[in-house]
Symmetry: C2
Subunit: 228 residues, 2 copies
């Protein structure tokens, strides 16, 4: 009799990083529960991608949580009055930063993990080829993990939550190589901050620039469907 696989929550946005994260968690033998968020982001093409990807990887369950983070504003990703930068990646934290987004995402995933009696949560944050978001750094992840174990009944009872960040120290090229080796069809993923309703990428936002450069460095053909 095969042992029951360990359950893991995997945050799946529909982008390149989270898809690779799901592929890694699956390859490690976890029974994966995909979690996506409709938080008032500009476009929903990435959620359509998330649905396709969750189905492709035969996750046990895929949940979508809605919450109106755009009620707060303050980010070009949730406030359509603000303009997505397209002139190149700067050294500052850009206006596409969504305040405390990964804290909210991980807190919601923690809630589901506790109900499922899962101890493992996978998130595709990356602190190498990234936009400088503070909630993608190892220090933040460790602080969240510590908090999670104090926040929950499971933690009090001795279960230790583990936030897995398999991409955190990889370059974008390494992420693309890893995903390719695991059989991902990256044409199905949407990273662009302002993708069209059909999921076509702009090619000039920070997310597109990092992705294009990643494929170039990896020496692989970029299958992304661009608008131009």
């Amino acid at each position: 009799m095969k042992p029951t696989p360990k359950k893991a929550i995997v945050l799946v946005s529909g982008g390149l990083d989270s898809t690779t994260t799901l592929a890694i968690a699956t390859s490690q033998g976890y029974a994966c529960y995909a979690l996506s968020f409709n938080y008032g982001q500009r476009h929903l093409a990435e959620l359509e991608a998330a649905k396709r990807i969750a189905a492709q990887f035969s996750v046990v369950e895929h949940k979508l949580i809605h919450f109106n983070l755009n009620e707060f504003g303050g980010s070009a990703l949730t406030d359509t009055h603000l303009i997505i930068p397209t002139t190149g990646i700067s050294n500052d934290i850009p206006i596409t930063y969504v305040p405390a987004r990964n804290s909210v995402f991980l807190a919601l995933s923690l809630s589901w993990a506790e109900v499922l009696m899962a101890s493992d949560i996978f998130i595709g944050v990356n602190a190498v080829d990234y936009s400088g978001y503070p909630d993608c750094r190892p220090d933040f992840i460790h602080a969240f993990e510590n908090m999670a174990n104090l926040a929950t009944k499971a933690g009090v009872e001795g279960r230790q939550f583990h936030i897995h960040t398999p991409l955190i120290h990889l370059t974008k090229a390494q992420i693309i190589q890893t995903g390719t080796q695991l059989g991902i069809d990256f044409s199905q993923t949407v990273s662009c901050y302002q993708a069209t309703s059909k999921g076509l990428a702009c090619g000039v936002c920070d997310a597109c620039r990092l992705r294009i450069e990643g494929f170039r460095e990896a020496g692989l053909i970029d299958p992304t469907r661009y608008i131009i």
Copy 2:
């Protein structure tokens, strides 16, 4: 010219504790921004109470964030298939515990605080006369504060978030006395886990029991509107 008051986010559920917390933050001179959540709880009478209370305290703004935490289930407060205990408070963490609820609430308040450039967040958690929820303890609050400063652009830029828990070491009687001194009309608040749509309290759930005992110990008349 009067100095501009400091902004604070205050989590307002419509219950006795959060109302007292709002009264304390107001008395300390903060410009208060009230935040409430419709997370799929059983009844919305507490949100009606939250609206009345926010108006009474003339908060600068009152926001309501919706999210379907009942999608996960696992708590009698969000899953109507589970029964609210009414036979008395036990020593175990009860089924009314909502997994990771305060982590989600505080993460969302952190998002708004960052947009408002506020450093202060007030939450009415209590670790004395409470139901044993792990996310009401000082250790959890400290861990969240630490995480918040690593999670945010504001934290990276040197702003320190402070999670204020003015009730954490008070008994329910002391909370009631404090609120009464600050002029709260507790008949307007709803603590009951299964209040009617008109906000009438059952008198027998853990929240009602703690509240009834609090008024008794405080030597004050309980103005709560009970169903019986």
